[in-house]
């Protein structure tokens, strides 16, 4: 039971004296009927008939959108495979059509009651720890020990589903990195040599200014900002900057959140420069939750944008069957590592996330649920998901597959970024902290606060969220 029930003392006490006889009669009759209905309700709740041992249903919940059907395809294939191998078991696929934020909310709401909780579900890596704390995920250690294919997962992948207690609760489908994606023809028109690899933040600004000078109607260099793009704002924007200043969001050793860092203000200042000089999209466009659709579907393919910071999954939008098919992308697009602030070691920065499959803690058939999970993540299915969704493989046998390596011309480049990548601090407080960062970027690009003011507001917000003893000045 996760829903707190109403304690007795908060029930309203009526003053008996003020009741008229008629009212009292009505109340009495009402309470009799209430009792009758309650009894009816109780009998309806008891199981109508004992379920046959063979007729079992697994409920699988995952995300599906108009531009993201890769997982839907894979799970449909896994369902057919699993049902053929396990007679009498029905897999019920329940896709949720929503963006990442709303999907997470819907999933969490369904997990609050055993009646609605899924058996197997699609879970963002950065939510694993807090959802384990909430008691939503089943510990998989016992099952994984007996699954011979677990050995083919890389160590980083195994860690992705690990919670604070050291147990593993989720198995990743794939991972991703972030890089600068640029349109070669736009850069060349501005006289910038390709392949392009900026070494510092100033290199980026210099190149963007050249593009703007060559064609003022262009969007030279885009980085997401503001609350509308949610995690995209921080993963494909602010963190690329912050983790390249030598600063960080969370001190893993001290287990404390960093406040008052110079890197934070510098990163905001960079965004401000980008937006003030109209090198990025307009603030109004940035605050539209659908801005990324125009980046992928309109500006980059039409040569209206020089470069943007986006994930390694970018080709999945443009390849055959993608949401914004564009055969020319293999020729026209290039990929570059995002540089550190002054070119300091290791020379570049990237952010990684990724999604997993997990088994619900309230599942009535955990054995079957794990069996389905292992089917959905077997070599064949993992390969087709990683190719269709341009994911970085987490199984060594998939990574070595020629079909995976030939999926798009950028697999090698974006996979190599794993060497400089960072992960979000996946604590239970993270979503609120992330939102505070997004607010700071929004305040800066809309001009309501200076970078210093926004950074101070962020520090205050962090102190309020985690408490003064869980922050560290750096």
């Amino acid at each position: 039971m996760t829903t707190p029930s109403l304690p007795r003392k908060t029930l309203p006490h009526r003053t008996e004296a003020r009741r008229t006889p008629a009212r009292r009669a009505g109340l009495r009759a009402g309470s009799a009927l209430l009792a009758a209905i309650a009894l009816l309700g109780l009998s309806a709740c008891s199981p109508a008939a004992p379920q046959g041992t063979e007729a079992k249903t697994l409920k699988v919940v995952y995300q599906k959108t108009d531009s993201y059907t890769a997982l839907d395809d894979v799970l449909k294939a896994a369902k057919a495979e699993f049902e053929a191998a396990n007679q009498g078991v029905t897999v019920k696929l329940e896709p949720i059509q929503a963006n990442d934020d709303d999907y997470g909310t819907k999933l969490a709401l369904s997990q609050r009651s055993a009646e609605t909780a899924p058996d197997v579900f699609y879970e963002d890596t950065f939510k694993v720890r807090s959802d384990v704390d909430a008691g939503y995920l089943l510990k998989l250690d016992g099952y994984l020990a007996q699954w011979d294919e677990w050995a083919s997962f890389t160590d980083a992948a195994k860690a992705a589903g690990r919670a604070d207690d050291g147990g593993i609760y989720a198995v990743p489908l794939g991972t991703d990195t972030r890089a600068i994606w640029y349109n070669k023809t736009v850069l060349q028109k501005a006289g910038i040599a390709v392949p392009w690899q900026p070494k510092t933040w100033d290199d980026i600004l210099a190149a963007a200014r050249r593009m703007k000078a060559a064609d003022p109607t262009l969007v030279p260099f885009n980085m997401y900002a503001g609350k509308a793009t949610g995690e995209g704002t921080v993963m494909q924007g602010f963190y690329q900057l912050l983790y390249g200043t030598g600063s960080t969001l969370y001190d893993e050793q001290e287990k404390k959140w960093v406040v008052g860092s110079r890197g934070f203000t510098d990163s905001l200042q960079f965004l401000k420069t980008l937006y003030d000089e109209k090198l990025a999209v307009t603030p109004a466009e940035a605050l539209d939750a659908n801005v990324w659709k125009r980046v992928f579907g309109e500006w980059l393919p039409k040569g209206r944008m020089g470069a943007t910071v986006e994930g390694s999954y970018t080709p999945s939008f443009w390849q055959k069957g993608g949401a914004y098919e564009w055969p020319g992308y293999t020729k026209d697009m290039g990929v570059a590592m995002f540089p550190t602030q002054h070119g300091q070691a290791p020379g570049g920065v990237s952010m990684s996330g990724g999604w997993t499959l997990a088994v619900g803690a309230k599942s009535k058939n955990p054995d079957l649920a794990f069996k389905f999970l292992s089917t959905a993540l077997n070599r064949k299915n993992a390969l087709s998901f990683d190719v269709a969704n341009s994911q970085i493989a987490v199984r060594s046998d998939v990574a070595a597959d020629p079909g995976y390596q030939a999926a798009n011309p950028f697999v090698k480049d974006v996979s190599s970024l794993v060497g400089v990548t960072h992960f979000r601090p996946a604590t239970a407080d993270y979503p609120r902290i992330s939102s505070a960062v997004q607010e700071a970027t929004e305040a800066v690009i809309t001009g309501t606060q200076t970078p210093a003011e926004a950074a101070a507001a962020y520090d205050a917000a962090v102190r309020k969220i985690v408490g003064g003893d869980k922050v560290i000045e750096k």
């Binding site: 009669a25 009505g26 909310t105 939503y136 109004a284 929004e442």
Partner: protein, 304 residues
Amino acid sequence: MLSPERRVSLGSRRPGVIRRRLRLLPVLPSVLLLALFLLAPVAWSFYASFTDVALSGKAARDPSWLGLDNYARMFSEPGFPLALWLTVVFVGASAIAGQNILGLVLALLMARGNRVLSRAVGVAVVAAWVLPEIVAAFAAYAYFSRDGTLNQLLGLAGAHGADWLYAFPMAAVVLANIWRGTAFSMLVYRAALADVPADIMEAALMDGAGGRQRLFFITLPMIRNSIAGNLMLITLQTLAVFTLIWVMTTGGPAGASTTLPVLAYQEAFKFGDIGYGTAVASVLIVVGMVFGVVYVRLLREAKQ
């Protein structure tokens, strides 16, 4: 005609009580349904607002009692006072001023205007009201957005429109809500005006009362009841508007159109802090109740 009923009453021991009980029977299902689906969630929401219950993390499994912390937090964070103020502005400008006055003016004009014209106006106004909220919200978004209808029309006239949803988010959602809700007030006032007896008007006319005098001293006092009832309904309706704002601006930019329902939703479901979200929702309920009580008083006075 009386006799069979009388016989039955005489036969029973406590005729009044039983009959009174039976008379209540038809309303019981609705009372029970209301209690189950309306009162219970409201009670739960009040309870949750005193805890740190969350969507995820430890507090999801084992919420702890916070007392009044959530309510204290509201006033230490700038988000809540701003949302409260914007809610007052939204209700004041779009419901009490906009829908109410525009509805009354339309009803007055329609009462004396050309019949064909007034029918056409009526259909146009009611059309916005008939649309489901989500459709109306998208229509308003399409009208005010950067490449939307309004800017295209301005472009035709040679003017250069602003980015309305970004530069004037509150004005845009207020106008959209007026557009959507005026029909209701108009219909209420048309019915009320039709009930104003013609002979009183005639008498006033004979006494030499001008148009303005007739409006303020005869018409308005006579439809006072309808005005109070209408105000109550549209205020409560507007307090709860969520879809329209969410679709048009998502409460942005930088919280500039975040009213209380939007804030409650964001806190509870975007940040997973159900405790704080329900606290905001509880304040909304209280604000609604205060408005309700004020209007009920007005109605009562009007009756006397």
